[in-house]
Symmetry: C2
Subunit: 284 residues, 2 copies
């Protein structure tokens, strides 16, 4: 596995890198960012995965997420993948819209042509990229956790529920929690997975919980001035599902906050401390 | 004075705004950003001015500066102006270069045509914008301080030295300290102020100090991996001038850091605490 360094900058005592590699899963070049905090030589560090939202690349959180200071203090590696395959030959939405196709991979392995060849973000984020990160960085894959924003919150929660022993913590900012029931999700899951809604349930946080998936606990922040809150995010559906399944959910509605990185960056440190507390526990 | 709100986002308990207004000094629309921290109704808050570097707008530090958490804690208003006039009819460098003209106002009032009509960033930053900020925000103009990055560090230090009773603190990240002696500065000061180098001395930190200007103390950070350090920034010239003039200078060379916002954001909190300590003193 060859990784090309796009940029490398010292920041908050650690190193913020941006990297590119040829992905076997997506069949394209993929770009991602990794922050490695200051650490002792030979140390292996826990890894926090951050999945981004619609239209984003690694760059949004890398530039605006304000995670480096806390990661440096807490000793966390922070990895931010892209949100879809990109490049020549990658099919996009025929209408050029921003909520499907490029920048909108929804963290699934597509089964429908023409998307099934490249849109394999589930396998990319859960298998290929962890392997690459553990080979190229001082990462301890026995201590991983996952968080995300909006579509990436959907990705983080569904990935954690599907592999609860693989991740020690999961949290989200403004997640899409029930894609099968909201316009963004119906369009994306229909386009990538086809019209059989049974296939969607493995990629829907609320449906996964209804079908028996479990995770120790979740932290979720939403903003009450988020324009997508009522139609696309619907945190009350997650609240109901977690209550019914006895999954402890720390769900906070933040007054005056919207869907932007001004919101994410404000609560990033809280989330990283939540993750660090769970990553520090040896074993489970 | 009419101010148009471009965007307004809650962040770190305060409000991050971006605003536009028709400037009498530059004869153009000007965009700037203001962070107002959480505060009691009726309170008047100290103001930190942040001047940006070559090619930047208000957006670079607003998105990447990581200043909001500390400003919220310390109760500081943070204002980031643009770096030049922009728009139709504003003369730019005939060669389209990035180190003169648009994005490169150098915080002077140009005397040379065709730049003298619009390039009035000195008066804009020291007179027009403070008036506007005090009329539209809960700002206490008796408690102002100033900082900047690169070309903006040049702006911050020269403005503080020219009006030491107007600013209670001054600091810089990677400043241009002797523009009369380095390529960026020689091009800019020559273009805006003409070939008589006597006129440049009021816009050169080292020359101002040599000519008798004083300020209580300075904090300056540079990165030892900054590619511009030796040719354009030359912090040793500031060190020598301050030593000779008995101006206390806290000059720190930060190991491994470059010229980017990854560097600025790392030390932003330190600078804001330096400013807050000096802004909190009642009187002088």
């Amino acid at each position: 596995m060859t990784v090309e360094t796009v940029s490398l900058n010292r920041s908050h005592g650690g190193m913020q890198g941006v990297y590119r590699h040829a992905s076997r899963e997506t069949g394209t070049d993929m770009t991602f960012s990794v922050f490695v905090p200051p650490h002792q030589g030979g140390a292996k560090l826990p890894v926090v995965w951050y999945l981004s939202g619609l239209t984003c690349t690694h760059a949004n959180v890398t530039e605006k997420g304000e995670y480096r200071k806390a990661c440096a203090e807490l000793g966390l590696i922070f990895v931010a993948p892209d949100t879809s395959p990109r490049g020549e030959g990658v099919p996009a939405d025929t209408n050029g819209s921003w909520d499907f196709g490029l920048g909108a991979g929804f963290y699934v392995d597509a089964t429908q042509p023409p998307f099934s060849r490249n849109y394999r973000m589930w396998s990319y984020v859960t298998k290929e990229l962890p392997e690459l990160v553990s080979s190229a960085f001082p990462a301890d894959l026995k201590r991983q956790s996952i968080m995300g924003h909006s579509m990436g919150g959907h990705g983080a929660l569904t990935i954690a529920l599907s592999n609860p022993s693989g991740y020690r913590a999961a949290s989200a900012f403004s997640p899409i929690v029930a894609p099968s029931q909201v316009p963004w999700g119906i369009k994306a899951l229909g386009g990538y997975l086809g019209s059989n809604k049974e296939a969607w349930r493995k990629h829907d946080t609320v449906a996964l919980i209804e079908d028996g998936a479990r995770f120790p606990d979740f932290l979720v922040d939403t903003g009450d001035a988020d324009p997508f809150l009522k139609e696309q995010l619907r945190p009350e559906l997650l609240e109901r599902a977690c209550a019914k399944a006895n999954i402890p959910l720390k769900l906070r509605s933040q007054s005056g906050y919207d869907h932007s990185y001004y919101f994410v960056s404000t609560f990033m440190e809280d989330h990283l401390r939540w993750h660090a507390a769970r990553l520090d526990r040896s074993g489970r």
